[in-house]
Structures are given as C-alpha cells and as structure tokens.
C-alpha cells in the first residue's frame, strides 16, 4: 500500500483512529470514516450504525464497519447526542468505499462539548502526517 494517495479534505477534523468530523453551520456535526480507513478495509460489506438518540462519549465505540475479512470499530469522534444515522448504508455499505466523505457519511450528532473534544482531534495537515506514519 506504500505510496498510495489518500483523500484528506481540508476543513474537517480527524481522529487517530481514522474517523472524520464536519462541523455544520447549524452547530451539528456529521461523522464518518476516512478514505484511508476505507482503503485499508477495502470492500465494505456491513455497517453497524450508532443508535439514534443515544448519548455518547467521545471515542466510545458506537458501531462498526466491516469488510469480508476485518472488523473495524467506529469510535465516535465527539461527545453528544446522535440525531440521525445514514440508513442508506444498511443496503449499500459500499457507499463508504465510493464516497467516504460524502454519501458514505455515518451519523449526525449534536455535540455536547465540541471545544473540549477538539483537543483530541487533528486538522487535515496533522492527520496527513499521522497517516503517512502508518504501516511502515
């Protein structure tokens, strides 16, 4: 996998475990897994979505993304309440492979302590460095 290019859009926040967060204009956040994560998993065949209305802690396991071979925990990048999940993924988990930052989004949350949570999140540049350090 060396030398492979990964999309890491500016403006998003990232976890060390390869989830992303987008802060929306209305104060909610959208979360998903990164291009690096989907490429590592390769063909995604199943997504276990977070429970809607659940109150979750930052970096708690709220679901899973699975390929034929592997299971990857979904860690929630922020604390808060789950508002909505992407039901499309139940029938089309491959949307995460095809468009990890778009149609492959996983959930929307109302964050409870976004400023506090940001301490553990990275910007695109730092995350790019983190990815470059993986797997060597």
């Amino acid at each position: 996998m060396m030398g492979e290019e990964y999309k890491i859009p500016d403006g998003l926040l990232y976890t060390e475990e390869h989830e992303w967060v987008r802060v929306e204009g209305d104060g909610t956040v959208t979360i998903g897994v990164t291009d690096y994560a989907q490429k590592q998993l390769h063909e995604i065949v199943y997504v276990e979505l977070p429970d809607v209305e659940a109150d979750v802690e930052q970096m708690s396991v709220v679901g899973a993304v699975e390929s034929v071979k592997a299971v990857s925990d979904l860690n929630c990048p922020v604390s808060g309440a789950v508002l909505e999940v992407n039901d499309e993924l139940l029938d089309s988990p491959e949307l995460i492979n095809e468009d990890p930052y778009g149609e492959g989004w996983i959930a929307k949350l109302r964050p409870s302590d976004l400023d506090g949570d940001k301490v553990r999140l990275m910007d695109a540049e730092s995350y790019g460095k983190h990815v470059a350090e993986q797997g060597h």
Binding site: H42, E43, V45, Y46, E48, V61, E66, V68, K69, V71
Partner: protein, 376 residues
C-alpha cells in the same frame, strides 16, 4: 521480520495486496475478495498454495505406517488415488487434516496445512520409528497451484496435452503443463471442481517453471485469487480450517469427521483407543453451521447463545459474510442435543444478540446450483 516467499512471489509482489500469513508473504487479494470469490464460484480462479506442506513417504511399510498415523484407511487406495484424512494425538485431538495420495505400493505423497509444516513433518518422523519408511519434505522443491471453479478443467486443459477428463475426483495424474513435468490432483478447498497442480522439480531459487504455469493459466482465462476469497470459499463449502474449526483440542467425532475414521482397520491408529471411548459415550459438543437470520456478520470467537439469549452454548470457530449467499454464516460448536438442523440460536455480535439458525453446512449453498456436484 523477513517473510518467507513462495515460488509465485514475483507475481504477488507486482499484482497482489500482500500480508503476513503465518510467516509467508502472500496476497490477501489482487482485485478484491468479492470479485475473486465470484470468479471461482462461477468461472475459474487460481491460487498459489505453495506454502502448504508436501512430503514423500517411501518404503516397503509405507501403507502400514500411514495407516498407523492417520484415521482413514489408505490400504483401500489404488495407484494414483488420494483420500482426505486427519491424524490424531493419542488423546484423539487433531494434529492436522491432510490428503494422502498413493503413487505406488511403496510411495505416497502427503499434502498438509502450511501452518503445520514443521509440526506435521516432525510428527510423521517421530511416529515412523520401527517402520521401513523414509520421509522427504519436498515443500520447497515443488510449487503448488490450485485451479478452481466450474471452468477449471477447460482452462487447465488449454495448457496441457494430457486428457483431464480422465482424472477422477481425488485422483492424481502425471501431466505435462506448459511443457513442464507436473502432477495434478482433482481436489481443492473451495467446494468447486478443480485441480491442485504440483510443479515438480521447481526450487524457490529457480521458480521459473511455476511462474510459467501461473502465467499460462492467466492467459488461459483464470483469475488470480488471494487468501481472502480462499477463506470465504472454503467457509461456504463448510470445509474446516485447521487452527479455527479443528485443533488439537477437538476430536474428529465432534468435528463431524466420523467418515474419515476407520475404527475397524487392521492395526488401529494413533488416538483410536480414546476416540473409541468418545464414540461409546457420545460427544459432548458437535460442530454445526449457523446461518445469520438477522443483520450482522459472525466472526471467530463470538459467543453462540440459546434461543432465549440467556445461556452461552458455544463459540464461533469461523465466520464471515458469504458472498454467494449474501448473508453471514458461521461454523461453531454447540452441545450435542442442540445440533439439530433448524434449531434457533443467537450470536452475540458486539453488544447485540442476533438471530441465527442451525443449517446444513456441508456446503452452506445449494449444491445443485453451486459446487462440484452442480447440475451441468
């Protein structure tokens, strides 16, 4: 750490997604597990299985020796016929599952699991004392390529002049493939028709013959397949994976391998006494296949619970998504009284209990539609 390489490594390095598989650098996939899986079920795929163990056993007492170390009866084999069997420890735990081929009255060819290469050879050696038999580990001198799928015969036929239609299931034949001396057995680990081709006299240092056969098969239309689909294909066929579904802690009666145990054969076999006791008392647990009815993918070590979800009754030993079937399947062990087909169970998938039921699993698919018995 330096990974061991197989004869086909040069191809994998260029085209495969390589992982460390028990110390071997092998491809988990080339294009993807799912397309490779379907290629084998519906067409033809080729696998590099050169990491497997291969040994020649030769001597006037080779039949007597093998019949002592394995549970099946090799004395009933004709020349160039093979059989699937297991070998047991004295306590009836499974040392490995393997195929033994009779080449002649005094020579056998034995093929066993990659993960057990050293262990098995040592076990064979250790138990050969007192028999006139010589063992030679030829794993690195013979390359091994599996050609699997409903189009396996026609594809391999394109690169050999020998008539493959004459090679019956579990038979071994001497062939010339791509101009090189080979043996081929009509066996495999996918549930499909196919061959395992042994490229003879092919060292790791000079692997050209194996690479030539591999590229010949690709040109003949075969799809290269990695270890990922090898696992999903064998699971759908209900075939055991040593280390998961059978181990030294499991005996063949629990593993539904009664058919490879010949209690009455002359001279007995290692583990017979204990296994006879198990047979008389009845097994406590039994291997079953489980189909996930709800949503989710079972994985190795997940708990199996009773229908009410109150009591843990066993554990998944292999599990995954079955690409041909479109749902999750598992192989696991449950108490004997719960092994009946149709029995509802639950599987704990992380925090959830998912519905499952015990199903026919040899194979999991409809064998009139898929697999080597399919209606042509």
């Amino acid at each position: 750490m330096d990974l061991k390489k197989t004869h086909i490594y040069a191809y994998h390095a260029e085209h495969g997604n390589i992982v460390d598989f028990g110390g071997y650098a092998l491809p988990v996939w080339f294009k993807g597990i799912i397309p490779e899986h379907h290629a084998v079920r519906n067409g033809v795929g080729i696998f590099d299985t050169s990491h497997m163990g291969r040994t020649f056993a030769k001597g006037s007492e080779v039949v007597k020796f093998l019949n002592w170390v394995v549970t099946n009866d090799v004395s009933r084999l004709g020349a160039m016929e093979g059989l699937y069997t297991v070998m047991l420890k004295p306590d009836a735990g499974i040392v490995d599952d393997l195929i033994t081929y009779k080449m002649s009255e005094e020579e056998f060819f034995i093929v066993y699991n990659a993960a057990n290469r050293e262990k098995d050879f040592a076990w064979l050696k250790e138990n050969s004392g007192g028999f006139d038999v010589e063992l030679r580990d030829v794993s690195d001198e013979i390359a091994m390529i599996a050609v699997q799928g409903p189009k396996a015969e026609e594809t391999l036929q394109r690169i050999t002049e020998d008539d493959l239609s004459e090679v019956g299931r579990f038979n071994l034949a001497r062939l010339t493939v791509s101009g090189y001396k080979c043996m081929a057995a009509r066996t495999g680990y996918t549930g499909e028709d196919g061959f395992e081709v042994f490229v003879l006299d092919c060292s790791l240092e000079r692997p050209e013959k194996a690479l030539k056969v591999w590229s010949g098969l690709l040109e003949a239309g075969a799809v290269p397949v990695g270890l990922g689909a090898r696992d999903s294909l064998r699971m759908e066929a209900g075939l055991n994976l040593y280390g998961n579904d059978i181990t030294e802690e499991i005996n063949p009666l629990e593993a539904r391998l009664r058919w490879v145990v010949k209690f009455k054969k002359e001279g007995g076999f290692i583990g017979r006494e204990v296994l006879q006791g198990v047979r008389e008392a009845g097994v406590d647990r039994s291997q079953v296949g489980i189909q996930v009815v709800g949503r989710g993918i079972p994985r190795q070590h997940y708990e199996i619970l009773d229908e009410a979800g109150e009591r843990v009754i066993g554990e998944v030993t292999s599990g995954g998504m079955a690409p041909t079937l479109g749902y999750g399947i598992a192989i696991g062990y449950v108490p004997r009284e719960l092994r009946k087909i149709g029995t509802p169970v639950k599987i704990r998938i992380r925090s959830r209990l998912v519905d499952g039921k015990i199903v026919k699993s040899h194979p999991f698919y409809d064998d009139s539609v898929y697999g080597w018995k399919r209606e042509k």
